[in-house]
Symmetry: C2
Subunit: 414 residues, 2 copies
């Protein structure tokens, strides 16, 4: 049996797997369109099952389609250490989002098999269903049901735009498995993922040691002024809902910049009546606030409210704020984070401790098992896009750190 | 023959005409839907022709449907003094916009007939075709062809949403007249209109002495940043097209307020990709700048350009500005304005000198004949709305000033 430090993943084999599976749902622009529970998803699942079975794994499917490929370890009394992510993509998704985490996990299993390396705990490679949420909202539905965030019946009833329910789609591709979601235990989970942001690339770091996931709050904001003629209404007599909203957007930018690690985004805005020569009478806009610390999120929310209240006085408008979603910050398990940190340092990569800005399956699994994530750079921070790109070397680094983190974590069970 | 000062219009008769014609295309909410060259327009035109002919007028129709009801004066060597506005409405229009100007003109003719008053010059009541531009863009098409602003063939080819051309619609309702547009001379024109703005009401004035029409420039603005993930892109690394646009909207508000009588409006805004958790990559917005003085408009445009340029540096975005329309300021004829001023003062009304913020048929007619306008208040400045409202007393005041201004102007031809 090789010692841990001699075990090196086969980066070319990983890359070949990335290229090969990217053909399933591959788009002309070099991306992937592989919506969850479609025929493309069925094909990549079949490929995944075949590869895992070829490595001697027992592949189980639960009742929301999550796939678990179990490789036995020395001790059968321990729950498996999981490596997981997702093989579904956005409608115009890239080749790495989710896929890298699963295929790097597969490469870990291949490398261990080649080396005839026996872990103490069993290992388990997981393909979570419907991480993207593009076909069936919300996102991370499979890991969410697994972790008890969503009710099974709720998940089954989610419908796509054609009215097909999640439950029907499971049956259509034959992936409603016999195992109750959550009944297959996870001792810990490690998820490798592209950063989907620009920080690692900009800072020249290779490995992001992800300590947790930001808290996130979504709001609907309505600003009501008075629709009026653009030519005959003097500036001093206006109650312009759009100018008031623009003030809010500028305020929000200033508020977020005042707190380290805070982000605030207005992604959508709609004005009524939306005519070139009519002063907007009402505006609807979305606000997305994120921060790793719930206390700071509270303060951001307070400042947002104050800014909104000030609009009433300054612009003569009425406003309303509705919080439509609140996802609390996730703190990954220190043992798992330490395993990632140790592995990355042992490999000699430039690292950066970070908090994920986006949601991931690991965020839900963290509710029921010790969990951590590893980030690698993606070009320009671009993701959810057919031009999404990650380098051969960074994929290799991510997979290597993933393997060594898992083995490091496993050593406690010796 | 009565002296001018004894001639008082019959306000109840005017009001009755307003009520009666409001039934043609009347809406449940108390407004009017009487789009140009529809069957409703045909019906109100027939009513108008009948009333004018009953007063002994000769009604002529030109080849773009403009209607001219001529009442002979003492001298047949003079071109007629016109009173004009429009009987077409917005899709959800009010009872006063345009209609008041025509029916007040009709009431002037009725009062003169009752008093057997003979003017020096002939009088001519005009109903201009397609002032609103709701069915066939652009607005003020009939007066525009009359004044040589638009080519006749261009007007005929304008199509509505069903693909029916302006020319076809003229034929359908039988209002392609035998007279060449522009061939029926106008010696001067007076147009009474509701203000369509809030100033008179707010200031407690009854009569607006309209000295001209603001210059108006329309622009398309494009702001291109970088689409990115709302969660994983730090504030410092964003190129947020919407935050940049919001800054521009606030700047524009400040710029306009720095110049007396300037107005600036952003009436439409569209963001891409318009997703709650994606930083907007691009924004399209409209800018409407107006001022009575072309030189000030130039300065406003320069400051708009500077504000746009500053966005590039401050927000890392690229911008473009396209001027899509430029309507120069209109200065009404001092003789006509003086006639309005003298009439309003003689009647003892509180007056205000003003410049129209909106376009009107009078703005085009002013290119070919001495012209002026009279404004009366409308409730809350509301127009292009079924709730548009003007009081009995203000309609009376407007019609009275209209009559006396016309008679005052006519006295020079004694």
């Amino acid at each position: 049996m090789n010692s841990m430090n001699n075990l090196v993943i086969d980066a070319q084999r990983l890359w070949n797997d990335l290229i090969e599976t990217a053909r399933i749902g591959g788009t002309q622009k070099g991306g992937i369109r592989r919506l969850t529970l479609t025929d493309e998803d069925r094909r990549v699942r079949a490929w995944f099952r075949e590869q895992c079975q070829a490595l001697g794994c027992d592949v189980r499917v639960d009742d929301v389609g999550n796939m678990f490929a179990i490789r036995q370890g020395r001790r059968s009394d321990l729950p498996p250490i999981a490596i997981g992510s997702h093989l579904d993509t956005q409608p115009t998704g890239g080749k790495f989002d989710g896929v890298l985490g699963v295929l790097a996990g597969l490469e870990c299993l291949r490398s261990l098999a080649d080396a005839r390396y026996e872990t103490n705990a069993p290992l388990m490679l997981v393909n979570w269903t419907n991480e993207e949420g593009s076909r069936f909202a919300p996102a991370m539905l499979g890991s969410g049901v697994y972790a008890g965030v969503f009710d099974r019946a709720y998940a089954e009833s989610r419908a796509d735009r054609e009215g097909v329910s999640f439950g029907e789609a499971l049956d259509q591709i034959g992936y409603r498995g016999p195992w109750l979601a959550g009944s297959i235990p996870i001792g810990a989970m490690f998820e490798l993922h592209i950063e989907q942001g620009p920080i690692l690339e900009a800072e020249g770091d290779t490995i992001g040691i992800v300590r947790g996931v930001q808290g996130m709050r979504w709001y609907d904001v309505e600003v009501r002024g008075r629709e009026a003629h653009a030519g005959s209404t003097p500036m001093s007599m206006r109650r312009d809902a759009l100018t008031a909203s623009a003030t809010l957007i500028c305020d929000l930018d200033r508020i977020a910049r005042a707190y380290a690690d805070a982000v605030a985004t207005v992604g959508t805005i709609a004005v009524e009546p939306s005519s070139r020569n009519v002063i907007p009478g009402s505006v609807l806009l979305s606000v997305d606030l994120r921060h790793p610390d719930a206390e700071v999120l509270n303060r951001l929310e307070s400042e947002l409210k104050e800014a909104l209240d000030a609009l009433g006085e300054d612009h003569g408008v009425e406003t309303s704020l509705t919080r439509i979603w609140d996802s609390p910050p996730v703190h990954f398990h220190e043992d798992c984070v330490a395993a990632v940190r140790g592995a990355a340092e042992a490999c000699g990569y430039r690292t950066r401790e970070m908090v994920s800005g986006a949601g991931h399956d690991a965020a839900y699994v963290a509710r029921v098992a010790p969990t951590a994530m590893i980030f690698v750079p993606c070009a320009g921070g671009l993701s959810h896009n057919e031009e999404e790109d990650a380098s051969f070397d960074d994929c290799k680094a991510g997979a290597q750190v993933l393997l060594q983190a898992v083995l490091s974590y496993d050593r406690q069970f010796a």
